[in-house]
Symmetry: C2
Subunit: 242 residues, 2 copies
């Protein structure tokens, strides 16, 4: 009998319903830029993040005195203090704080996945440490890519493919879905040069037009932090011990 656990990839939040029942762990991925920003925020000492799906909910929190961020179409929503640039969390004033965040795609995925047993945040920034942590859990794992407005995107898929590749190589995990097999292929083609591979990707072009090249480079640079952000009672907290 095959006792290996599953590691699979779902390309968009809209397809999550076709996958969800088999998986105890959901890794939410939005490389450009929500889950990268969340990892950067915890790396910089934030206490917790309340992800909310709508701008209205984020605004309600802001009215109550919370630090609140909102991004739509790659830009900070008017009236909010920050969006989803990782650099916006690298300020002294954020240390130890609880903040609220809504983004176009990433917080939507977190909302879609919220009833899973464990919801964890993945990005290139925490890739190695996340892989090591996932490998120890002995549970079926689904990588949920956030995509772009309900469509497939390359950068999330390649990050998910990197997780598949690592876990399959431990010998304790297997993939049976074609989406996971393709994600792994795309990762193996991209891994030596993420920036080059993704130069034609649609979201990279979109952000480049908004002068966000520094954000892109940062978000595509693996292993800058050991944080493991997980969702607990509606809040993201960092459970990493190192």
């Amino acid at each position: 009998m095959d006792t290996r656990k599953l590691i699979e990839v779902c390309y968009t939040p809209g397809e999550y319903a076709y996958f969800k029942d088999e998986f105890e762990i959901v890794v939410v991925i939005d490389v450009l830029r929500a889950t990268s920003a969340i990892c950067a925020a915890f790396d910089n000492g934030i206490a917790s993040i309340i992800p909310v799906p709508t701008v209205e909910e984020a605004w309600e929190y802001k009215q109550k005195g919370f630090l609140a961020g909102a991004e739509r179409k790659g830009q900070i929503v008017e009236g909010f203090d920050f969006g989803n640039s990782p650099f916006s969390y690298m300020k002294e004033e954020f240390k130890g704080q609880e903040v609220v965040l809504t983004t176009t795609n990433g917080t939507k995925s977190l909302d879609v996945a919220k009833d899973a047993e464990i919801v964890v945040v993945g990005s290139f920034l925490n890739l190695n440490h996340l892989n090591q942590w996932l490998a120890k859990q002995d549970k079926n794992i689904l990588c949920l890519c956030s995509g772009w407005q309900d469509k497939f995107n390359l950068e999330d898929t390649i990050c998910a493919g990197a997780i598949c590749d690592h876990l399959i190589n431990t010998g304790n995990f297997t993939s049976v879905e074609d989406s996971s097999i393709a994600a792994k292929y795309l990762y193996l083609s991209a891994k030596d040069n993420y920036l080059g591979f993704l130069k034609s990707s649609s979201h990279r072009r979109r952000l480049k037009n908004l002068n966000l090249n520094e954000d892109i480079k940062y978000c595509l640079t693996p292993n800058q932090t050991n944080v493991i952000p997980i969702l607990r009672n509606g809040k993201l907290v960092n459970i990493s011990e190192n």
Copy 2:
């Protein structure tokens, strides 16, 4: 100004709604096996095929005296004469006939796309001739993969990637969606050995377990026919002149 037309890839019928408005031509692809069987049927002289989404509709036609086929979960539905094996259409009795067909994924995609200006059937079997025909149309083209039960599949994606690669190389078409870029990458990785590349694909395993290896080999062998089946008033007919 960029005057090139679009060639894009949608991975599943469920995502078609996010794409459809920009495209005058939809190429419906279900390599294993509906659109391969449809190409084989026209190559063998069938007059027309009425695709229907449900078994109930196919049964109604059968009661009226039509030749009717139905496939679900890779097998012929009880009471019907044939399913979606390409070999089932290679019989003398089909020549000049009109038949009715419902399949798990392929006829569903045809139904989803039916309001597009032009709906054409693609597979590896008619790949070169279809590419040449598409290149002459000067219209925006969407490849609609049928997937497997609303999920991504590799074989349809690779066939779509082959169409993207050909049309982009003419210089008159471009892709902007990440799904199209990934499909092209996957095609370029697979093109020298479709059978080998797809050996781990989920649907190939599924069909192999049903002893359908001959079907798989046939469906993955490019350029066996010049047929161009298009949807006209709810029926598929072959508009190829050679």
